[in-house]
């Protein structure tokens, strides 16, 4: 074992800030005279808000604990060995902070090997080993249990996953090899690939049992007691865990093929982790664990030294940490309470906003519009959505009654808004109309009320300019679908004061949105970048590059959808409108595509027809296109598009649209669904040398979203 000790000692020196997990060994007498038992408790000594992780010193501690129980097992002093976690937490895997610090391939390899060397000892003791998944288990936490002979799981376990692929890694401490050999390749693919790539979907305790990962399921109230009683029964032979036979034939290959299809549909080949994991799963078919573990070590080290993982961890930290503490937000103590919300307009967007405010704030929400029919329709929409929630069992009847009672609609703004604290408008996107609406609202609303606008491209400052109290106007820009996309761009107008801004951030938090502070600049963040990106695609098409070449050019990015499909989703008319706005602001960089204008004019709502299942360019659209004769290659297109995006982001940072490049990336991840493996976009632009080429410098310092120096 000394080699493992040395290995971990070396690794620990690279990570002085590790939150160290202890592996306590305690002995107990099993019921029914089943003998003396050694139970290892993984515990970092902190409460459940700081989950237990594995860094090198933690692994060394576990290794030392296993030294002790291995000897006891060999001496016959114990009849079994168990491992469990502190209250509510089993273990949530490798400490990502330590992974971020790794700068050399051999150090990354050491971490993989170190974990394997320690964990696999649990399968080689002279007595059976048992993992008791008492609480959250992720990554290496799941894997340490997979090395045990048996597992039990708590019904109260809220989250269980192998999230490595989601971040840009493979489950590299045995997960890729052991899981398919335990539950079959197809189920393993679901856990390792599918769940990971579905926004890191978590399993609950019951599912862990149903998938066959755990041999027994017990309720949370006396989980450990029942697990130990079960252990006693297993050791005495009165209970024999049943496991399903694993299909090592074609089903295995089909499962891997299914995994590839899932990965293709999610990352389009652009991120390596899922494919590396699938290669290992495929090879694990022969049940050769040692070869599989070696492959895991290699994959882990390669991925740790690759940009996608660094981008993934960077992105993870953005949405987990930066999103909770918005950069530049004023002190939250300045925020005023919001006890009633007004919504100007009762159209679809306004109704969706009303529903969101209602559900999250649970305060009265009043809709107004220009005629009773529209008002009734808006309230009717909200009521219908509440009924749907009730029907799905997401809320109970009392809650449905409460929510329905809170929403109302009136024609008279004075009646509706006289005691509202927060009034948001979602009326027609035209500055004159919006100024008029705010003037009317200001005349009837309390002096402290926030006036928020959901504008996507108009100037918040201009909108406020004619008011008596312009300091209370805030941009509150949601992304469609409002209920799903987390991003909320909060726009500070030139006169917006801190109290109003703090109130807006407070409301955003209650709405459970990721709020990013944005300067009042044309189209703010996401729409500006997407429009520049789309505009450049449109430009090359207009100049003569075939549509399919332009579309394919950006496939290697692994975006959630192709540019034209995105434009279909947004709506060509809206896309055109935003491009016109930005063209007015920055005519030298933003063009208005005549072809797009023609498509809109022809009343087309998209570019493709899907009659055959796959998208085919609509012949009617094709007939409208007037293209030049400059035909670019995919690579040329990609360079042009990425150069444009890098330039635009560079200018936005110079203008101070957001505080840092991190906010740009947070916006793109949470507002446009841009993938983790790009880190939003700036880590990718840095990695590919685009930033250097265009702006003469990278966006992020080395080590922020890349391998440190």
């Amino acid at each position: 074992m000394s080699s493992t000790t040395e290995l971990l000692k070396g690794a620990a020196e690279l990570f002085p800030g590790e939150v160290v997990t202890q592996a306590h060994v305690r002995h107990l007498d099993l019921p029914f005279g089943a003998g003396r038992f050694a139970l290892i408790t993984l515990d970092n000594g902190l409460d459940h808000t700081k989950p237990t992780t594995f860094g090198p010193q933690s692994l060394a501690n576990l290794n030392a604990a296993i030294d002790q129980v291995e000897k006891e097992a060999a001496d016959g002093a114990v009849t079994g060995v168990g491992i469990t976690g502190k209250p509510f937490i089993f273990a949530v895997g490798a400490d990502l902070k330590g992974v971020e610090l790794l700068g050399r391939h051999e150090d990354a390899l050491a971490i993989g090997k170190g974990g394997h060397d320690v964990f696999r000892r649990l399968s080689g003791l002279a007595v059976p080993t048992f993992a008791y998944y008492n609480g959250a288990a992720m990554g290496g936490g799941v894997e340490v249990g997979l090395h045990c002979t048996y597992r039990t799981v708590s019904k109260a376990l809220p989250a269980f996953s192998l999230p490595e692929v989601f971040l840009g890694l493979v489950p590299g401490w045995g997960g890729c090899v052991l899981l398919p050999n335990l539950i079959g390749a197809d189920r393993a693919v679901s856990v390792i690939i599918e769940n990971s790539l579905n926004q890191n979907r978590q399993l609950k305790g019951k599912q862990v049992f149903e998938l066959g990962i755990a041999d027994a399921l017990f309720e949370g109230a006396d989980f450990l007691e029942q697990s130990l009683i079960w252990t006693a029964n297993v050791l005495k032979g009165s209970v024999t865990p049943q496991r399903a036979e694993i299909d090592r034939g074609d089903a295995w290959d089909q499962a891997v093929a299914r995994g590839k299809a899932v990965a293709d549909s999610k990352v389009h080949g652009a991120a390596p982790a899922a494919y590396r994991a699938l290669d290992i799963i495929a090879a694990a078919k022969d049940g050769d664990l040692s070869a599989g573990f070696d492959a895991e070590d290699q994959a882990l080290a390669d991925l740790i030294m690759g940009g996608e993982l660094r981008s993934g961890i960077y992105a993870f930290n953005l949405v987990q940490k930066r999103a909770k503490r918005p950069a530049g937000a004023p002190d939250k103590s300045l925020a005023r309470p919001v006890t009633k919300v007004g919504v100007v307009g009762a159209g679809l967007m306004a109704s969706q906003l009303a529903l969101l405010f209602l559900r999250r704030l649970e305060v009265p929400v009043v809709l107004t519009d220009i005629d009773q029919e529209r008002v009734d329709k808006g309230v009717g929409y909200v009521h219908a959505e509440i009924e749907k929630l009730l029907g799905k069992g997401r809320i109970n009847q009392d809650k449905a009654n409460r929510l329905k009672g809170l929403v109302s609609g009136v024609l008279d703004k004075a009646e509706g808004f006289a005691d509202a604290d927060f009034i948001i408008e979602a009326v027609f996107e035209e500055i004159g109309v919006k100024q008029q609406v705010f003037a009317e609202v200001e005349a009837v609303a309390p002096a402290h009320a926030i006036l928020a606008t959901n504008t996507s491209s108009l100037s918040v400052t201009e909108m406020a300019s004619k008011l008596k109290n312009p300091e209370r106007v805030v941009g509150f820009h949601f992304f469609n679908p409002v209920a799903i996309l987390p991003l909320l761009e909060i726009v500070r107008g030139e006169q917006t004061d801190d109290a109003s801004l703090a109130t807006a951030f407070g409301v955003a938090k209650k709405l459970k949105k990721t709020a990013v502070l944005v300067k009042d600049a044309p189209a703010f963040v996401v729409n500006r970048i997407l429009t520049r990106f789309m505009g450049e695609i449109q430009n090359v098409i207009d100049e003569g590059t075939p549509v399919e070449v332009a579309e394919r050019a950006v496939e290697p990015l692994g975006l959630p959808m192709s540019p034209l499909v995105l434009l279909e989703l947004v709506g060509p008319a809206i896309g055109l409108h935003v491009s016109e706005t930005l063209n007015r602001a920055f005519p030298e960089r933003f063009t208005v595509s005549e072809n797009l204008a023609a498509v809109v004019k022809a009343g087309k709502r998209g570019f493709y027809v899907y009659d055959s299942g796959a998208p085919v360019l609509d012949p009617e659209v094709a007939a409208l296109l007037k293209q030049g004769d400059t035909v670019l290659t995919e690579e040329q297109v990609r360079d042009r598009v990425l150069d444009a995006v890098a330039q635009e982001i560079g200018l936005m940072l110079d203008e101070g649209v957001v505080a840092e490049a991190q906010d740009i990336d947070l916006c793109l991840i949470t507002g446009a669904g841009w993938p983790f493996h790009l880190g939003g976009i700036t880590p990718y632009l840095d990695r590919e040398g685009v930033s250097q080429r265009v702006n003469g410098k990278p966006f992020l310092e080395r080590g922020v979203a890349s391998v440190p120096a």
């Binding site: 107990l28 007498d29 309720e219 109230a221 007691e225």
Partner: protein
């Protein structure tokens, strides 16, 4: 409306192993309500024929009803144990006789027809809630001499009881304690106790108290097998200089919980639940608070009178050993020998411990086991002394009674 008094039976009882109170005790980092929850869940697991929806009440006793012993424990422990929300619950306090009172109160309601099946039990985590925590005795107790000052200190009341029975010497008390430890050790060796214990997982983070991490408590921590007269002889008498009461001839300060299922006999039979004991009568009595340990005598007198029985009809006794002197006073009063085989066959609280409000159900669970083994016995009783000068007695009939097997 015509009413029929119904027979009430003890269906089943379980408990956690008892622990020593204090920083080194096994339950030091375990919540009191969790102890109750484990006991209730074990009770339900052992009686799968009982649909939890049919439980009409959860009555849980605790002496110090604050913190994790507060918040209407019967209700909150029911929810935590996973009982349906439709099952109500409440808390009870009669100090040491808490669980016993939980049984009798709900039994009375069953007889009356208000309930069919109930959970009754108790808990005391004396480590987290030392005796007297947060109490605020009315100053009139002292100023008007309503009680003697010693009434609040149970050890002193035990010394006072020695005064009342001068023939009960320290040696007799110590000899009784030695026998209690011996009987308890024998009961353990014969597996009499473990069958009604629910193992409890316990966490320890303080290395000074022993191995850290999760452990499992499967046996009573306070037991001291091998206790001898010699080992008891020189223990301190903390309640009175040159006194008689020591840590060796009294129950300690303990943590633990108990739970029992009590039902109408007809309902138990209909549901196929076991009938381990049939309730005959119960009574509580008050005595001078400063000789609290005398309480079981008048309480037993009342219970016997209600049942129309004489002390000679009682074939088995489960007397709570808060103090050896209190058992000996009872035996002396009734002319029963200190080592009578009918008394505390498995030993008592001196060995197992006495987590105040939980103990009543321990006595019943043990008596129920003895009834099973001894069908020749028809009647048994459980009795205990209670702080502030009370006694509590329940008389039970053995449903396994077979006249051919014995003389009653």
């Amino acid at each position: 409306m015509p009413r029929t008094i119904r027979d009430v039976v003890f269906v089943d009882g379980v408990r956690t192993p008892f622990g020593k109170a204090g920083p080194k005790g096994v339950y030091h980092e375990t919540r009191a309500d969790d102890l109750v929850v484990k006991a209730i869940r074990e009770l339900l697991r052992r009686n799968p024929d009982l649909d939890p929806k049919k439980i009409d009440e959860v009555a849980i006793a605790a002496t110090t009803q604050i913190g994790d012993q507060g918040l209407t424990l019967g209700r909150t422990a029911g929810i935590l144990a996973g009982l349906p929300q439709s099952v109500p619950g409440y808390s009870i306090d009669r100090m040491c006789a808490g669980a016993l009172t939980a049984v009798t109160s709900t039994a009375g309601s069953i007889a009356f027809g208000a309930y069919d099946v109930v959970v009754a039990g108790g808990v005391e985590h004396m480590g987290r809630h030392p005796m007297g925590e947060g109490v605020d005795p009315n100053p009139r107790f002292v100023s008007e001499k309503l009680v003697d000052e010693s009434a609040l200190f149970m050890g002193m009341t035990a010394e006072n009881l020695h005064d009342r029975y001068p023939t009960i010497t320290k040696e007799r008390a110590d000899a009784y304690a030695v026998r209690s430890q011996e009987k308890a050790a024998k009961a353990y060796a014969n597996g009499k106790i473990q069958q009604d214990l629910v193992p409890v997982s316990v966490r320890r983070t303080n290395a000074e108290a022993g191995e850290t991490g999760w452990g499992l408590v499967t046996a009573d921590e306070p037991m001291r097998p091998g206790t001898t007269m010699e080992s008891l002889a020189n223990l301190k008498t903390p309640f009175r200089a040159h006194g008689r009461v020591t840590a060796g001839n009294a129950a300690g300060l303990n943590d633990g919980a108990t739970a029992s299922l009590i039902a109408a006999e007809d309902v138990a039979r209909e549901l196929g639940l076991p009938v381990k004991m049939r309730l005959v009568s119960y009574a509580f009595a008050g005595v001078e608070p400063e000789v609290m340990g005398y309480g079981p005598i008048p309480a037993t007198e009342k219970a016997l009178a209600q049942a129309g029985l004489a002390i000679g009809d009682i074939g088995l006794f489960e007397i709570n050993e808060a103090f050896a002197v209190q058992v000996l006073a009872f035996l002396e009063h009734y002319g029963i020998a200190d080592d009578d085989a009918r008394v505390n066959q498995y030993g008592g609280a001196i060995a197992y411990g006495h987590p105040l409000a939980s103990s009543g159900v321990r006595l019943m669970t043990q008596l129920a086991r003895q009834f099973e083994e001894q069908p020749e016995v028809r009647y048994g009783l459980t009795t205990m002394c209670v702080g502030f000068g009370m006694g509590a007695t329940v008389i039970w009939e053995n449903p396994h009674f077979n006249a051919d097997g014995g003389d009653k």
